[in-house]
Symmetry: C2
Subunit: 273 residues, 2 copies
Amino acid sequence: MKRTVYFVSESTGITAETMGHSLLSQFDTVDFEQVYMPYINTEARAHALCQRMQEAHARDGVRPIVFATMLDQDIGGIIKQGNCFYLELFEQFVEPLSVELGVAPSRKSGRSHAITKPSSYTKRIDAINFAMANDDGVRPDNFRYADVVLVGVSRSGKTPTCLYLAMHYGIRAANHPITEEDFERGDLPPELVDAHTRVFGLTIDPQRLQAIREERRPGSAYASAERCLRDIREAQTMFKRHTIPVLNTTSQSIEEISSHILRAVKSPNGTAA
Amino acid sequence: MKRTVYFVSESTGITAETMGHSLLSQFDTVDFEQVYMPYINTEARAHALCQRMQEAHARDGVRPIVFATMLDQDIGGIIKQGNCFYLELFEQFVEPLSVELGVAPSRKSGRSHAITKPSSYTKRIDAINFAMANDDGVRPDNFRYADVVLVGVSRSGKTPTCLYLAMHYGIRAANHPITEEDFERGDLPPELVDAHTRVFGLTIDPQRLQAIREERRPGSAYASAERCLRDIREAQTMFKRHTIPVLNTTSQSIEEISSHILRAVKSPNGTAA
């Protein structure tokens, strides 16, 4: 049986979606059709959503599920009274927090993903620009300006992880792909070793690496089993020599890798694993 | 008064952090020290956190606040009994959802940001690679392979928005900066106009654009008031000619702009505004 799910909010809906996804992930045997409904900020849009929910009920044979973070009681009330199983994710925590803090909530919607602190927002945008400009080790002289540098063989997941760290945490992340030049030298570039920044090694299982490279350049030496194995083995030797903590990206998402890195960066003697 | 806040989880902690941020944004007069604590997945780590909470209490003169999404009752219990105001964000929704679905929860932690569906994860990574390869209009022939193309003058926020759309929603987003060549031609490039994809125009207030460009190239013609004004005015004319929906990025975050775009892309006759 399929269940239609709506993530509903007056603004971006990112909180409703994140919490809703998390909750649904506890029920992985159910087939969910997930619909993202941001900016339901007028009564007309709420009524239009109720109409869609009616249609989903008729189609699925069972009422849809709504994950909502609504601050406006009137608009939220319209959806709640619609044909659905309604879970308000926000409201019940606001009151106890207000009591604990001794401060009344502002009741303004859309604050959490708006630019409320321009300095921290600018930091994130600057970090994205830094990650873009320092992708793929194009400017080794810049490693010393990075908060972290990710090192790994080609296609080990460096670029998406750098972008994630920049976008979400304002971390200036550069990356260096271990190249043929490094293999010949038998070591990482001196700019990296001397950068005095936090360096993390990314590794990946050889079979997985081969599959990714094969898709990119079918039948090439670059994608061969021997080459993938050699690249990874030599990279490991370099990581070990410089006591660089290593993360295996084979079955970890960029969110998971980033969280491990963040944990290590934030704690002075933290380890990545 | 400062309040120390911990976002705690057995895995990435992204859900705890997103919900916690949202809730805190309702109390913007309070000064929060926010600490991200992912991978609290052993009793030893829970006890270490309790120790930190004690220190925070002594320092702040008031107990810290914990936003937690813990599935392991033993580990969660240790923190809950620590010196803190503990809000468990997840638990109370799992049971009603389970009843509604008629399915028991898996009680596995770390599912929501793991690679549970390799196909949708691969789609996101591919979209990031696409956004990187098609940034700044370097390959206009590729516009036709994009789900959306963002168009705007230099420094109007195209790149971070493309990356966000790719990273979070697996949307293949390319972008085209309106260049001197376009201004001379008096129109957008034919590859864009003929691409038959969804095009969105990004605009920005001239003063804000000038400030951003001035920081990048101080005293340049590129950063002059006249040039900024001209760029924006001519871009608007081009958007109007091709009935391209326009979003103003002056005071909107990349999350907000992306949500507007997503809303428009998902609804067949949706508008961006």
